[in-house]
């Protein structure tokens, strides 16, 4: 199972980076979103993955899921949203001001 999880995370990273290397701002935004999914999953996995573990404190729980990476990832998700939003608006502003959506502000550099 580990091998599939690692592959999935690595694949998401590859997809994200490929898109971030594209020349259009929207592609970069999408790529960054993919990359942040991958990073969040990686952080989450660093606490080890257990299914059917207790997430809440209860007297009959045997195994608990590691809460610390979860807390970190939770804020990371929200911050990631803030960052994506900022980037999107930046892209719109650049498009409005420059008249094109190339990442360098002009095509053909």
């Amino acid at each position: 199972m580990e091998i599939l999880i690692s592959t999935a995370i690595g694949f998401l990273v590859a997809c994200g980076i490929y898109l971030m290397l594209r020349a259009r701002t929207m592609d970069v935004v999408i790529g960054l979103t993919l990359l942040s999914y991958a990073v969040n999953l990686f952080l989450f996995a660093s606490g080890r993955l257990t299914s059917n573990a207790a997430a809440l404190i209860s007297p009959d729980a045997v195994v608990y899921a590691d809460p610390l990476p979860q807390a970190l990832v939770l804020t990371a998700i929200v911050i990631g949203f803030g960052m994506t939003a900022f980037l999107v608006v930046l892209a719109i502003r650049a498009f409005g001001d420059l008249g094109n959506d190339h990442v360098d502000g002009e095509a053909g550099k």
């Binding site: 592609d27 979103t33 299914s51 404190i57 590691d66 809460p67 998700i77 803030g82």
Partner: protein
């Protein structure tokens, strides 16, 4: 304490001088003079103790851990230098007051000068070597300001830059050398270092430390091959040249040689390095001085030559040579400062410093001419003047040197040759300027300077005579104390008499005098020969300029290579660098152990389905990325798969958050698509695409490997603490939420602040943005009314959604939920209204200033933290209790919930700012572009 004051008075004076300048130009001069005199008075009050053989040290800890103390030391050597700095400083201030023209800013000049004086005093009075270095670099910086004082002149700017580059670079070497020295000795205090000669010289690091320290000294004292900056620094006003480039700053290098003499001298390495540098400089600079036509150029090279002489003497490493070196420091400072001042007077009153035009000035300024002639005679080493005495001692020492065996004649011979040159250029200075026919084409008729401008020269020339005639009575005690300070040991036997009988040294002096006169008589032939032999200028400046140019070009090339304005290239370089570092690290520490031994997650069909879905959706996003709408749908699928993974792996809070963020993100991106192109043609060729695919693949493989290694390696977590303390300490069973709002509440506070900043940034970016939404048709969206069904359903849904949010919010402490999730849910519910009923309709009914919501949220969170102070607990300590509510039953109230409420409000505000601001752009309230978007800016 007095010692500290001596250094601080000039440094603080730099502030007082401009203040005093409010009372007119002379105010600045008076203030500078008064402060210098005060410092000098303080120094003199300490002098008797030093003459009695005491070493005064006062110390304050600064950063004791790294051996840095604010400690000062006054011994014989420090006293001598401090006397020179303050005494000559006082004379230079008087001189400069009359030298500077009304166009020059007097307060600025004297402020710089006081700064320099303080720095210089710091160098000579420091007990701690690092402190010494700080003052050392300060002298480089302040001399930069002084040399470039006439900043409108390009030669002044260039000269200042070159001086700073060379002496500042040397200062860095010195820093390294001092750190090595401190490493060897274990202390940076001079008292300790000077007493550890044996330890230092037997240490492996002695050679590098010595070379680095000498580099510092040689650059500062303009020793060959670092001499070239000094002539260019002559672009400074003449008082600066007289002060910095003859009496004080360039002496800092030889001061360092003298200071470190007990600790570093004696060995072969010291002898050969220092002697060679000194000897070459002595002869070479004396020769060049002969051919300079500018008076200040001649004096500059003469200074370099004399510094070489002093360096050579310290290189010998014998006690008597050190005494001679100290003696020549005193004499050179006196006669060279007066010569520079005389040169300044000539420049000032005749309008030029070119010796080919100046002639016969004796008629016009006989008084100044006599003063200058006496000083120049001292420079040449004529008997009955101070220069003669130390030069005699120098000749004696060259003869006494035992070290070179069959080459023993070399140094005396070269020393005599340098003496010949010195006599010749001194003669040239006197004869060419004051006699030798009539002046040619002078810009103005020369005349004597104002009375007060001559006084400093008179004082110094009188000293030349007094020391030259009565050495034992005048300079004797000071020399003995200073030499004792250099040696840190009992003084050797020496005599300061004028006449020691007819010996070899006298012969050398005579040869120098006669040879110098002959040389001068033959000067026309010599000049012709010199002109034939050296077609251009001496190459040092050209080499320096070439080096600087090369450096600039190289850095420009590298900068252009890395930073050509293409974000795509930065991205590729960044990823490439990360992969390279990753491979390097893996190679260094051994590849990851890819064994199956650590696997523990049971294989499960649901999980496999989710992961495969994730991979396919990711692939789909990439394949479809040029068609934005389908790509966004695929992106949404990826996000959903991630949420499902969170559910599967026991993280309900994360799943809820991811789900709601997913909705908001997709709405946001769809809104953006309303403005941005929805289709894109392929920009990059297949080569570029393959390169990018390779980079992306490399990064992906790296991350996959890393994840694999993490998942299969043994695991230890610090979460046990949180699990144990969550209920008794935080009062909540949902550990994730308790961590967020309680254990690590400060972090969360920081994070919502970052979000608020992002919202403000977005708001700012959307101000005054003129952009046209895509036209309806192929890409744009039809402005049709939203479906009626959606509109009807969404309205009753709003209170329901709000209720769910309140529920999630309240239970968050004990069950999945909390401020973040509840905030996002409210955000989505409100955005639904915009979507279903239109911006206009919603805007009219939802008159909320979302920035106020953000502000209230942040303040609430902050106040929860601050409130704990009131009860005497640390910031963000939480408390909780249980209440009994009718019907509901036992109910928990925690102060962390107020904090969570703050988080909730902030998140709502931010979501709404982001989406509503963007939504407004497309609605009827949007600012309309007047023209085509391309031309609107």
């Amino acid at each position: 304490m007095t010692l500290l004051l001596i250094v601080l008075i000039p440094l603080l004076g730099a502030l007082l001088v401009p203040v005093a300048a409010a009372r007119g130009r002379m105010g600045a001069a008076w203030m500078a003079g008064a402060l210098t005199a005060t410092a000098l008075g303080l120094l003199l009050s300490l002098a008797p103790q030093v003459f009695a053989g005491e070493i005064l040290v006062s110390s304050w800890a600064w950063m004791a851990d790294i051996g840095l103390y604010f400690s000062f030391r006054l011994d014989g050597l420090g006293l001598l230098f401090a006397l020179l700095i303050l005494g000559i400083g006082l004379l230079v201030i008087l001189y400069a007051t009359y030298y500077l023209s009304p166009k020059d800013s007097m307060p600025k000049f004297f402020a710089y000068m006081m700064l320099f004086m303080g720095a210089m005093l710091g160098v000579v009075l420091s007990e701690n070597l690092i402190l010494l270095l700080i003052f050392w670099e300060l002298t480089s910086l302040t001399s930069f300001l002084l040399v470039s004082f006439w900043r409108h002149r390009s030669d002044a700017r260039q000269g200042a830059r070159m001086a700073l580059a060379v002496t500042g670079g040397g200062g860095l070497c010195l820093l390294a050398g001092i750190l090595l020295l401190g490493e060897i000795v274990g202390s940076y205090e001079l008292s300790v270092v000077l007493a550890s000669a044996e330890l230092i010289q037997n240490h492996d690091l002695y050679a590098p430390a010595l070379v680095l320290i000498l580099l510092g000294a040689f650059t500062k004292s303009a020793q060959f091959p670092f001499h070239f900056w000094l002539p260019h620094a002559m672009a400074a006003p003449t008082p600066v040249s007289a002060y910095l480039h003859s009496a004080t700053m360039v002496k800092a290098g030889v001061f360092l040689l003298a200071r470190m003499h007990p600790a570093l001298s004696g060995g072969d390495l010291w002898f050969y390095l220092v002697t060679a540098a000194g000897l070459v400089t002595l002869v070479f600079a004396a020769y060049v001085a002969l051919f300079r036509h500018d008076i200040k150029g001649l004096l500059a090279y003469s200074t370099i030559s004399h510094l070489g002489l002093i360096t050579l003497l310290f290189g010998f490493g014998t006690p008597l040579a050190a005494v001679a070196g100290v003696f020549h420091i005193i004499n050179h400072a006196i006669f060279k400062a007066s010569l520079f001042m005389a040169a300044g007077i000539i420049d000032h009153e005749a309008g030029t410093r070119d010796m080919r035009r100046l002639s016969g000035l004796f008629k016009y300024m006989p008084y100044t001419a006599v003063l200058a002639m006496v000083a120049a005679a001292a420079m040449a080493g004529v008997p009955l003047l101070n220069g003669f005495l130390s030069k005699e001692m120098f000749f004696v020492e060259t003869l006494a040197l035992q070290r070179l065996d069959e080459w023993a004649w070399l140094i005396p011979a070269l020393a005599t040759l340098a003496g010949v040159f010195a006599v010749a250029y001194s003669l040239r200075f006197i004869h060419d300027v004051f006699f030798n026919g009539e002046p040619k084409n002078l810009p103005k008729v020369p005349h004597e300077p104002p009375r007060w401008m001559k006084i400093p020269v008179e004082v110094l020339v009188t000293l030349c005579l007094l020391v030259g005639v009565f050495p034992a009575f005048t300079v004797g005690p000071l020399l003995a104390t200073a030499a004792g300070g250099v040696l840190q040991a009992p003084l050797p036997e020496y005599s300061l008499a004028i006449w020691h009988g007819f010996n070899e040294a006298i012969v050398m002096s005579l040869v120098a005098l006669v040879g110098g006169v002959l040389f001068y008589l033959l000067r026309h032939r010599l000049f012709a020969l010199h002109a034939r032999l050296s077609p251009g200028e001496f190459g040092a400046k050209q080499v320096f300029d070439g080096l600087i140019r090369g450096l600039l070009n190289t850095s420009r090339c590298i900068t252009h290579l890395l930073e050509n304005g293409s974000l795509q290239r930065y991205m590729a370089l960044l990823v490439g660098a990360a992969i390279t570092v990753g491979i390097y690290a893996a190679a260094q520490h051994g590849a990851v152990n890819f064994s199956m031994s650590g696997t523990s997650i049971p294989i499960n069909g649901v999980a496999i389905a989710i992961l495969v879905g994730l991979i396919l959706a990711g692939l789909g996003t990439v394949i479809l990325h040029r068609h934005r709408l389908p790509a966004l749908v695929m992106l949404g699928v990826v996000g959903l798969c991630v949420s499902l993974l969170f559910v599967y792996f026991s993280a309900p809070d994360l799943a809820l958050t991811q789900l709601s963020v997913e909705v908001v993100t997709i709405i946001l991106l769809l809104l953006a698509l309303h403005f941005m192109p929805q289709e894109a043609k392929a920009d990059s060729g297949s080569g570029r695409r393959w390169r990018d695919a390779l980079l992306a693949g490399g990064a992906g493989i790296g991350v996959a490997g890393l994840t694999w290694a993490v998942l299969t390696s043994p695991f230890e977590t610090l979460s046990g603490f949180y699990l144990e303390q969550s209920v008794p300490g935080g009062g909540g069973t949902n550990v994730v939420n308790v961590i967020l709002v309680d254990f690590r509440g400060f972090d969360t506070f920081g994070e919502i602040t970052v979000l608020a900043i992002a919202a403000i940034g977005i708001h700012a970016l959307l101000q005054n943005l003129l952009i046209k939404p895509n036209e309806p048709g192929r890409y744009g969206w039809a402005p049709a009314k939203p479906p009626l069904l959606l509109e009807v359903i969404s309205r009753p849904l709003l209170p329901l959604a709000l209720m769910v949010a309140v529920y999630l919010m309240l239970r968050g402490h004990n069950e999945p939920g909390g401020g973040f999730i509840a905030g996002l849910v409210v955000g989505i519910a409100l955005v639904m209204q915009y979507l279903a009923s239109g911006v206009e309709w919603t805007q009219a009914r939802l008159r909320v200033d979302y920035f106020k919501v953000i502000a209230v949220g942040l303040i609430l969170s902050l106040l929860t933290g601050v409130a704990s102070w009131i009860w005497g607990y640390p910031f963000m300590t939480t408390t909780f209790t249980y209440l009994y509510w009718p019907v509901v039953g036992k109910f928990e109230v925690a102060s962390a919930m107020v904090f969570d409420l703050g988080v909730f409000l902030t998140v709502v505000g931010i979501t709404m700012v982001i989406l509503a601001e963007l939504g407004k752009l497309s609605g009827p309230l949007a600012p309309r572009p007047v023209q085509n978007k391309g031309e609107s800016r």
